[in-house]
């Protein structure tokens, strides 16, 4: 049972190894990130100037829809699942995931789901064009024929995510090394455990919503059609009951990543470990009772609006605790600034900016002015790009030496970081202004008063897009061409956790066949 790896394509098709599956998830998500990014480039090219220059409004809507779906379900979520696969067994001292065969399925369903979704671009009537939130009746009565492929695709993604989540929960509960108590687990494992519970709770609700859409479209039901006694607003309630926890599904793993990286490079223990765990749990709980803050303009009774406003504002408290804890971790530490740390710090700062606009959006009376404008676009891109995606990039730089046994090119990585941070702000910060000035979301054309902001956003977006090819090159250079100095077993001076203290670099194909001793 040495370090035996099967060879060829069948290694990847039939693998049950958590490291192989993790790699496949990460590669897949990077491909999706580039495809979704290319669509963002189409969007930004059209919005570069007022007037319709490149694409027709209908195609523009297809681009915004697919960009959203691909980034959420194809890039961010699989990336975090990939990290979970690679890291959770090593972090808790388990030989593999608890359900390795299911692990293989849950990955291989994904490419099928996205081929279905992307194939809709070439269909009669075009791809789905109703926004990633697919509000009825625009997506039911008025949806293009390809909507059915979209529905089937979403079902597959849902099944994949649920299987992945079940695997994580079972692994964390049953496979921990002796002595690895719950409150000793690294925060990444904690945040992923909570994420997995969110997934198991809300992905089935999404599956229900798209199933209802399907029966409304083809089998004569009228869940969302007023003529048959249904209610289009009902769709939004169901969708956001899934949609809001979904936001935390994307960001919680990044919280865990920051909680691993910041202590390492501060050479100091994480401040307030247990309050971090409780804060994560309370964020997850609150995420279930705030969904209607996405719907303040649909005409809810005042009491309902007040409830959702106050509940939403409460989320700022545990989130604030996390941010303060990260700063306290750095406080009086002995900090160095390797690329993972730079990304983690950028994550904390820019995510917090997204949090501030979140508090603003939570206030119902002012939300009436922000709702469905570029202000909202700015808000969630701040939470997702410098939040979830920077978090993932930080993780890749941080653990890549452990995965491959080689250091990445630090100089290039720093260039990648500085270009990314400049362009990410250039892209998304002006969106706050265009939104406040009155530019609504999801439009291919706009009044000339928004020209300057849109021009800056577009320039930033092109820069941000190109910069990611540098990331691709860094990855190829380290992982494929195997250039770069050999990494030590601990990799980073201040690194803790079983993967750094108990395993060599690169981590062997089979690790912890006999559980480590944890004290």
């Amino acid at each position: 049972m040495a370090d035996h790896k099967p060879k060829g394509i069948s290694r990847w098709l039939f693998t049950t190894n958590h490291k192989d599956i993790g790699t496949m998830y990460l590669v897949f998500s990077f491909i999706m990130f580039l495809i979704g990014g290319a669509m963002a480039m189409v969007i930004r090219a059209e919005l570069f100037q007022p007037g319709l220059q490149f694409v027709e409004p209908n195609f523009f809507n297809q681009m915004t829809t697919l960009h959203g779906l691909i980034m959420v379900f194809g890039a961010v979520m699989p990336a975090t699942v990939g990290l979970a696969n690679w890291l959770i067994p090593m972090m808790i001292g388990a030989p593999d995931m608890a359900l390795p065969r299911m692990n293989n399925w849950s990955f291989w369903i994904l490419p099928a789901a996205f081929i279905l979704l992307l194939s809709s671009l070439f269909m009669e009537g075009g791809a789905p064009n109703f926004g990633w939130t697919f509000y009825a009746p625009l997506s039911t009565t008025y949806g293009p024929p390809s909507t059915d492929f979209f529905i089937f695709g979403v079902h597959l993604m849902g099944i994949s995510s649920i299987m992945g989540a079940i695997n994580v929960i079972v692994t964390v509960f049953n496979m921990r090394a002796p002595g690895m108590t719950l409150m000793k687990m690294p925060l990444f494992v904690w945040t992923w455990l909570i994420t997995a519970f969110l997934l198991v709770m809300v992905m089935p609700v999404l599956a229900g919503a798209v199933t209802m859409m399907l029966t409304d479209r083809h089998f004569g039901t009228s869940f969302f059609d007023a003529a048959g006694g249904g209610d289009p607003v009902m769709f939004q309630h169901i969708f956001w009951f899934f949609g809001h926890p979904e936001v935390y599904i994307m960001i919680l793993p990044a919280f865990g990543i920051a909680s691993a990286i910041i202590p390492t490079f501060s050479r100091k223990k994480l401040f307030g470990y247990s309050s971090m765990v409780y804060a994560t749990a309370s964020i997850a709980f609150l995420s279930f009772i705030v969904w209607a803050h996405h719907m303040f303009t649909v005409g809810m009774p005042v009491k309902g609006e007040l409830f959702f406003m106050v509940a939403t504002m409460l989320i700022a408290v545990p989130t604030g605790v996390k941010v303060f804890n990260w700063i306290a971790t750095m406080w009086q530490g002995s900090i160095t600034y390797e690329t993972p740390m730079l990304y983690a710090i950028a994550f904390v700062i820019l995510f917090t900016i997204g949090g501030f606009s979140g508090v603003m959006l939570a206030l119902t009376p002012v939300d009436w002015q922000y709702h469905d404008t570029y202000f909202v676009v700015a808000h969630f891109h701040y939470v997702l790009f410098p939040g979830a995606i920077f978090g993932t990039m930080a993780a890749v730089y941080y653990w890549m030496p452990k995965w491959t046994g080689r250091m990445y090119d630090e100089k290039l990585a720093k260039v990648h970081f500085w270009l990314s941070i400049v362009f990410v702000n250039l892209t998304f910060f002006p969106m706050h202004f265009s939104g406040l000035a009155g530019m609504q979301r999801r439009v291919p054309d706009y009044n000339i008063m928004f020209s300057d902001f849109n021009m800056w956003s577009s320039i930033g977006a092109f820069g941000l897009g190109l910069t990611q090819f540098l990331f691709l090159w860094i990855l190829i250079k380290t992982c494929w061409l195997k250039k770069g100095e050999k990494a030590t077993d601990q990799v980073w001076e201040g690194a803790e956790g079983l993967e750094f203290t108990h395993l060599p670099s690169p981590a062997p194909y089979h690790s912890f066949d006999t559980p480590p001793k944890v004290d």
């Binding site: 608890a98 509960f173 049953n174 089935p204 229900g208 209802m212 009951f241 309902g304």
Partner: protein
């Protein structure tokens, strides 16, 4: 030996837990569907979204003549609905606790029989729970022969518990064409 024992024990534990989690998934799937009736119940209790209640029974009672409520009637006809549809009176003043009857005029402009369904909606949303219909055409689908006209009655009373702050109630009926599909294509040929 003990090692493989441990392994199968571990696998059993994993199986049990997986089964539980699959149950949770299925329960949440059912919950997604259950949200539909739950939402309707919730709407009925709170008047959310201005959906109206079912049939009410009027019990003889002393009207509250200390205040008058303006009840406005609005009609919205869907674009694919070839009916003229309008209230006989666009607004009346009522005392809470007293029963009134109003009527809506319909005319089928089409050259064929059409089935219509009126869906009520209230504004402000919350008053729907104080507005009781004792008879309404909106409880059933209505069929009109080609070119026919009709006056459809609606009887209602406003609950005496209606909070003081509401002095105007708007009741909007949206008229949908629910003629069965096969009938529609037949007529089109």
């Amino acid at each position: 030996m003990s090692n493989s024992n441990q392994q199968s024990e571990q696998q059993d534990k994993n199986k049990v837990m997986t089964r539980k989690l699959v149950m949770v998934t299925l329960i949440m799937l059912a919950f997604g569907f259950a949200m539909i009736p739950l939402y309707d119940v919730f709407c009925e209790i709170t008047g959310l979204n201005g959906k109206s209640n079912g049939l009410a029974v009027y019990e003889q009672q002393e009207p509250d003549t200390s205040r008058e409520i303006t009840v406005q009637f609005m009609t919205i006809t869907k674009n694919d609905m070839p009916w003229d549809f309008e209230p006989v009176e666009t607004q009346i003043k009522v005392y809470p606790g007293k029963e009134y009857e109003v009527a809506f005029r319909v005319k089928n402009r089409a050259g064929k029989a059409i089935v219509g369904q009126a869906i009520p909606s209230f504004s402000p949303n919350l008053v729907s729970q104080y507005f009781n219909k004792t008879e309404c055409f909106c409880f059933n689908q209505q069929t009109l022969a080609a070119g026919a006209t009709e006056e459809m009655p609606m009887r209602f009373f406003v609950d005496k518990d209606l909070p003081e702050k509401y002095d105007t109630i708007t009741l909007a009926y949206t008229l949908h064409n629910v003629t069965p599909a096969e009938q529609q294509t037949q007529a089109a040929d």
